[in-house]
């Protein structure tokens, strides 16, 4: 949770470009805070749901939508799942939000665990929207990849299941698993957090060590990647500047290099100077990590600027995001969208006199609320997501009309 004095920066593919409009370029952008600052973000590919002091807000190109009464979001390009105090509900994107595609009432109880976790199971941002978990599995958090699921248990154990063709389950094979299965290789080490990308997985131990496994096709595991090495070799032949190809600070000896395309067992990752990792997040094909010293490191696929180094190079070794250092910003948390990296930063004590460094969110200055003009083909304001029912949940929730 971001405290007062924090703000969020985003690198990578913009919501404008996702709508086919010209993008704002490779530099970092600051999220317009809205009332009371932004506390949490849940990014999808073409939009992002943010939590402001006034509640949830859905932001896409040129458009904002208040999501009154809802507390948490699980977005995808086909649907958005929202969770409130008494219910979770899913709506279909792009088809008019008049009626929900799915609802589930939630029993009132102690502080809920974060989405996708729900009582008894977890939510999915696509049909069937809900899957039960085995009764004995006590979950602290859960992360969804493209084909797999990671679960962090209350005891610091990690379970993985789903598609395993790219080694993303960490069981040492390329087989898929239908049911949650303990990642044995991590069994001795209590974990504090897990993150799932498109086809890769990450886990941070309580001691601040980072483990990764899965597909390394763009260097997202920070293991030597053949395709990137070949690109670098080509670039050197062509005389291109080395900066564009993000070489590792200490490139491994060419003869000794074994390239890894798939890492089917967790591997310990060493960041430069070996700091303690406090948080990690995975996009489709990249990874971002925040250290206890307030630094942000990124690696993997960088074609849309999501690594935050101001270029479009991919990298198979972790690189510190220098923009934060240059601005004296302390990274507190990181959340990745498919092709983006959102970082929560604490402002320096003397903020810069202008905000010229970060381009403003283009939607800043337009009025908030559901009466924004809609993009062509989109719904009118009557598609605003109905507020969460306040009354006691009834058997068979009625679907609200817009």
């Amino acid at each position: 949770m971001a405290a007062a004095g924090s703000s969020w920066l985003v690198f990578g593919f913009s919501t404008e470009e996702a709508a086919g409009e010209p993008g704002p370029g490779l530099g970092p952008r600051r999220l317009e805070p809205g009332p009371g600052g932004i506390r949490r973000v849940w990014p999808a590919w073409s939009y992002v749901v943010v939590e402001t002091g006034a509640g949830l807000e859905l932001r896409s190109a040129g458009r904002r939508q208040r999501l009154r009464g809802w507390r948490e979001a699980l977005p995808s390009e086909t649907h958005v799942v929202l969770r409130g105090a008494a219910a979770a509900r899913a709506w279909r994107r792009g088809a008019g939000l008049r009626s929900a595609a799915w609802s589930r009432f939630l029993p009132r109880g102690p502080a809920p665990r974060p989405l996708p976790l729900l009582p008894g199971g977890f939510a999915l941002p696509r049909p069937p929207f809900y899957r039960a978990l085995p009764a004995g599995l006590r979950a602290r958090s859960l992360a969804l990849g493209t084909e797999h699921v990671l679960l962090l248990g209350t005891g610091g154990d990690v379970h993985a299941w789903g598609g395993g063709r790219h080694g993303q389950l960490g069981h040492g094979t390329l087989e898929s698993e239908a049911q949650p299965r303990l990642v044995e290789a991590l069994a001795g080490v209590p974990m504090a957090a897990v993150a799932a990308g498109g086809w890769h997985s990450a886990s941070v131990s309580e001691a601040g060590d980072l483990y990764m496994w899965g597909w390394n096709e763009s260097g997202q595991l920070a293991l030597p990647c053949k395709a990137l090495a070949e690109e670098r070799a080509q670039g050197e032949e062509a005389g291109a500047g080395a900066a564009a190809l993000s070489p590792c600070p200490e490139p491994p000896e060419a003869e000794a290099t074994t390239f890894i395309s798939i890492q089917a067992l967790p591997a310990l990752l060493d960041l430069p100077q070996e700091p303690e990792v406090s948080g990690v997040s995975c996009g489709s094909r990249h990874t971002a990590a925040v250290t206890r010293g307030g630094e942000l490191y990124t690696w993997g696929w960088g074609k849309y600027g999501q690594l935050g180094h101001g270029d479009d190079a991919s990298s198979d070794c972790p690189r510190r995001v220098e923009h934060l250092v240059a601005q004296g910003l302390w990274a507190e948390a990181v959340v990745c969208g498919p092709w983006t990296t959102y970082v929560c930063v604490r402002e320096p004590p003397d903020p810069p006199s202008s905000t010229a460094d970060c381009s403003e969110d283009p939607a800043a200055g337009t009025c908030l609320g559901p009466t924004l003009p809609s993009a062509p083909q989109d719904q009118t304001c009557s598609d605003s997501v109905p507020p969460e029912p306040n009354s006691e949940p009834q058997v068979g929730l009625q679907l609200h009309e817009g």
Binding site: G94, E147, L174, E217, K226, A238, F259, I260
Partner: protein, 454 residues
């Protein structure tokens, strides 16, 4: 027809190329329907429409619009690529493959309108042909044909383009494991040694083993040979009883027998991008797949033979229709139940020493040998237990035994398995009944064409 020395193309310059290319597209924006064979995420269609709008806007996308079109091509390809990799290749929806094709089309058109050399557009067309699904009446196939005519005569030196790797041949039938990652896209075997760069001799390149002599085929093991049997005779004596046989004479009139050579393949298909298998055999840990042009494949793996590369199990004739005209479908395929369109035709082109480990396929197979010789050993499915198939689901159709160097301590029953063998010569066609175990090693630079039918 000799082109003037140093000429770019038969026609005059990029303007003529753009006009020819533009003529392949529907006349008006309204006729360019962007039809898809199913549902896709709502974010996709606005991008497709925007790209189409750029095409039909001003006088060909020029200047800034070419850049915007190129960018949209990238976004569409990258977005749909993730869908293409989101599950088993067989389950990927046709609609997403069509989106990928549009991404390749818009990208190729952007390259052409920006005046880039046609090879980059050819490569994009090939990516769409390999991984996409036809749109606009196979526009990519039609486009690549036009582009090939505009390539300079001197096409060598494409080594720089070869390295853009997003390997993995497209799928089924999963004879060669589609793993580590099934459809085309980045990804290879779990680990691999540093690859050889094209160019000077790499010191530490994994050396190819010494070529092995042609194995002796004992008379009692030798497969029977038949010259042009009648349909009934083949059906009654071989198809129904499921007995393998070498057929002679049926390829005699195929144009490939007099036309094909390594040079000819290079001329017709040199600039085209194909999936190549690297590594001794697909059961090895260092085995991987890589996309490269035919020129580069021939230069690095046929002519130089620094390490093992095999253009294997690739539907080359769908990609390059000109080559399809040089072959025919064996008449005996009409004895099957399936339609002719469902017959899968694969090309197998490689240096001496390529090995396909002992495995079985789920369909009948005619293996036609065009040039070079192959040593082939066959085991009946009844002997399956003695052949120790792999346990894993991916390799379940493959034996663990190295046929020409079996570990009889680990696999003692292998010696009990009876086999037949042959050296398949140019002009011969081997009938491999469904699920018949077969092991293949090339004895020369070899080109085979296989027909999988039911």
């Amino acid at each position: 027809m000799a082109a003037p020395v140093g000429a770019e193309a038969p026609a005059a310059g990029p303007g003529a190329l753009w006009a020819e290319v533009r003529a392949l597209l529907p006349g008006t924006e309204g006729e360019f329907t962007l039809a898809l064979s199913g549902e896709v995420d709502p974010c996709v269609r606005p991008l497709l429409r925007r790209a189409r709008g750029l095409l039909y806007g001003a006088e060909g996308p020029a200047g800034g619009e070419a850049a915007a079109l190129r960018r949209l091509g990238h976004v569409l390809r990258d977005y749909s690529w993730e869908k293409l990799n989101a599950g088993p290749w067989q389950e990927v929806s046709k609609a997403w493959r069509q989106v990928y094709t549009y991404g390749c089309l818009f990208g190729a058109l952007a390259e052409i309108s920006a005046g880039c050399p046609p090879v980059s557009a050819v490569r994009l067309c090939d990516m769409g042909l390999l991984m996409g699904a036809s749109v606009l009446d196979n526009v990519l196939g039609r486009l690549v044909r036009v582009l090939q005519q505009h390539l300079p005569r001197e096409r060598r030196g494409a080594a720089g383009l070869a390295a853009e790797v997003r390997p993995e041949g497209p799928g089924p039938p999963p004879r060669r494991p589609l793993l580590p990652s099934s459809p085309p896209g980045p990804g290879r075997g779990s680990a691999g040694p540093l690859p050889a760069a094209a160019g000077p001799e790499p010191l530490l390149q994994k050396a190819r083993p010494e070529p092995r002599p042609a194995p002796a085929v004992r008379p009692e093991e030798e497969l029977p040979r038949l010259r042009c049997p009648s349909l009934e005779s083949f059906r009654d004596k071989h198809l129904i009883p499921q007995k393998p046989v070498v057929l002679e004479g049926i390829m005699d009139h195929w144009p490939c027998m007099r036309k094909w050579s390594v040079d000819y393949i290079c001329q017709v298909a040199g600039c085209r991008t194909v999936p190549v298998e690297l590594g001794s055999r697909y059961t090895d840990e260092e085995w991987s797949q890589k996309l490269m042009t035919v020129d580069d494949f021939i230069g690095q793996y046929i002519v130089n033979e620094k390490s093992m590369g095999y253009l294997a199990q690739h539907q080359l004739f769908d990609q390059i229709p000109e080559l399809k005209e040089d072959i025919s479908i064996p008449d005996y395929c009409c004895l099957g139940e399936g339609e002719e369109e469902h017959i899968t035709i694969n090309a197998w082109f490689g240096p001496e020493g390529t090995i396909s480990p002992l495995h079985q396929d789920p369909q009948q197979n005619f293996l036609a040998q065009v040039f070079g010789r192959k040593y082939i050993r066959l085991y009946s499915p009844q002997d399956s237990e003695n052949l120790y198939p792999h346990e894993s689901q991916i390799l379940h159709n493959t034996s663990q035994v190295d046929v020409e160097n079996p570990d009889l301590v680990k696999f003692p029953n292998f010696r009990k398995a009876a086999f037949q063998s042959c050296v398949l010569m140019p002009g011969q066609v081997l009938f491999i009944p469904v699920k018949y175990w077969h092991y293949v090693r090339s004895l020369d630079v070899s080109f085979s064409v296989s027909f999988w039918w039911s």
